[in-house]
């Protein structure tokens, strides 16, 4: 419930319709999507493939402009990519292969003009420590495992201390065990620094585990189905299972047969 005494939203997405052209088609990725994110939210956009959630994230990142509606960050309209919204991608090749772990983080800080020289190096090491990669600070990305690469990408995103961290299924390409550990680590990092994150996923358990607020989207074109509160980390497993079941029913109620396997 929005209350007049509550602070204004950090990120405000209002009636956003996104369309893009492929070679032969004009695709409507999302249709009039609304939501808003507050400071320190762990906001999840959850939906099956084709619900436009990644496209939506790209729009928040400033990589594409809405055909309708607007996206405001701290009251300013988003028109292009910028270091105030750091992206963490799903792909392992998001690190610059010609730079070491430390240089990757420092390069982000220096290129965007946030910090220079020694200050940048210190900030970089602080966040590399946070993701437990101190020993690998001088390693090149190709020598790291997939999970470690994603940790570097997260450290890089957090070191920039952006207004909001945008994560596009960052753990989807990891094996199940690593994924669970990464989810725990992300929550640990959030406990420490309380950053704001917009996290896109197609996994219901991941959404319930990581988020405090979950936006459900249905596909073709992507529309908001619901916006739910998640449960606490301390919640009883039965409560978690109930929420997961509820989300599952909402997303797949009409489409059990075609989408069950997603």
């Amino acid at each position: 419930m929005l209350d007049k005494t509550e602070p204004p939203p950090l990120l405000d997405v209002r009636g956003v319709t996104l369309r893009y052209k492929t070679r032969d088609h004009l695709v409507t990725a999302t249709y009039r999507v609304d939501f808003s994110i507050r400071q320190s939210d762990r906001f999840i956009v959850l939906g099956p493939s084709g619900c436009g959630k990644s496209t939506l994230l790209k729009a928040v990142g400033g990589y594409m402009a809405p055909t309708e509606g607007e996206i405001m960050l701290k009251g300013t309209r988003i028109t292009r990519p910028g270091p105030d919204r750091m992206m963490v991608f799903q792909e392992f090749d998001q690190l610059l292969p010609w730079k070491t772990v430390r240089q990757n983080v420092v390069f982000a800080l220096e290129t965007s003009g946030k910090l220079r020289g020694r200050a940048a190096g210190e900030r970089a090491m602080e966040y590399i420590d946070k993701v437990h990669l101190t020993r690998f600070a001088d390693a090149y990305p190709h020598t790291l495992s997939g999970g470690m690469k994603q940790r570097v990408a997260i450290a890089r995103g957090m070191a920039m201390e952006p207004d909001i961290l945008l994560m596009d299924e960052p753990f989807a390409a990891l094996d199940a065990l690593t994924r669970r550990r990464m989810q725990d680590e992300l929550l640990g990092l959030w406990e420490e620094t309380r950053f704001t994150v917009l996290f896109v996923t197609h996994s219901i358990p991941e959404a319930v585990k990581i988020g405090n607020r979950i936006l459900l989207m249905t596909p073709h074109p992507g529309q908001v189905k619901a916006e739910l509160n998640s449960v606490d980390a301390s919640a009883h497993p039965a409560e978690v299972a109930m929420l997961e079941q509820r989300i599952h029913d909402m997303l797949f109620v009409d489409r059990v047969e075609e989408d069950e396997h997603v």
Partner: protein
Amino acid sequence: MSDALLRPEVVREISGADEFGIVEKELTIFERLYNLGWVRKTGLLIVLALVWEGYARHLDNPLLVPTLTDTFQAWREGMESYVLPERIFTSLQVLAIGYTTGVVLAGILTVLAITTRIGTDFLETMTAMLNPLPAIALLPLALIWFGFGIGSLVFVLVHSVLWAVALNTHAGFRGVSNTLRMVGRNYGLSGLRLVLKILVPAAFPSILSGLKIGWAFAWRTLIAAELVFGVASGKGGLGWYIFESKNQLDIPEVFAGLLTIIMIGLLVENVIFRTIENRTVRRWGMQT
């Protein structure tokens, strides 16, 4: 589970190391030496040298095939009299001018090609048309346009370098993953800064192989052009050295010239480019 599928479980003791014969044993010195590529290749070279020397002595006609020792003798004399170093220097000087100009032009063309669509079309059309044209075929025209001087040589060199480097660099730029571009833009990079800070290093494996191909084309073209075209303002290069020696029927010197060309080629490919490769793309794991 049905009874038919039920069977006893198996748990075994692992046997100790003393029960196997060999777990790990060093190979003999000969086996290990034979596994080294350079040892095998050096061996081959020695065999070839012996065959050459034997055949030349058997033929006993220095006008056709001089002996290896004569060739080395001629090479040493050439080096000691400063004739050969001077020729090498002249060749390398022209090469450096042509190569650098070609690479710079290729850089400008490819930057235009990735920033504008008409630039892409221009580059693609030009490379499609001119890449198959051997640079040496342009030499007669170059002589008319630029006269007997360095200008003509530089012109054909630029032609031999430009298209190969531009083609590879452009392919490299296009192959850079969209994720990396988005990462660069996320830092607020755009335009030329995005090209220099993200695209160039990300495409470096392709750029480097373009530079290598360009070098190989340029080196061959230069020697061929010098052979055809001879001397520029009183100073000839290695090609001219060979041509001149042949006219004086000094065949060991011809062989010495050929040997020098091979050595410089090997030096640049296996020392200079190999070092660059080891320090960049191999170290970054972008090429195995």
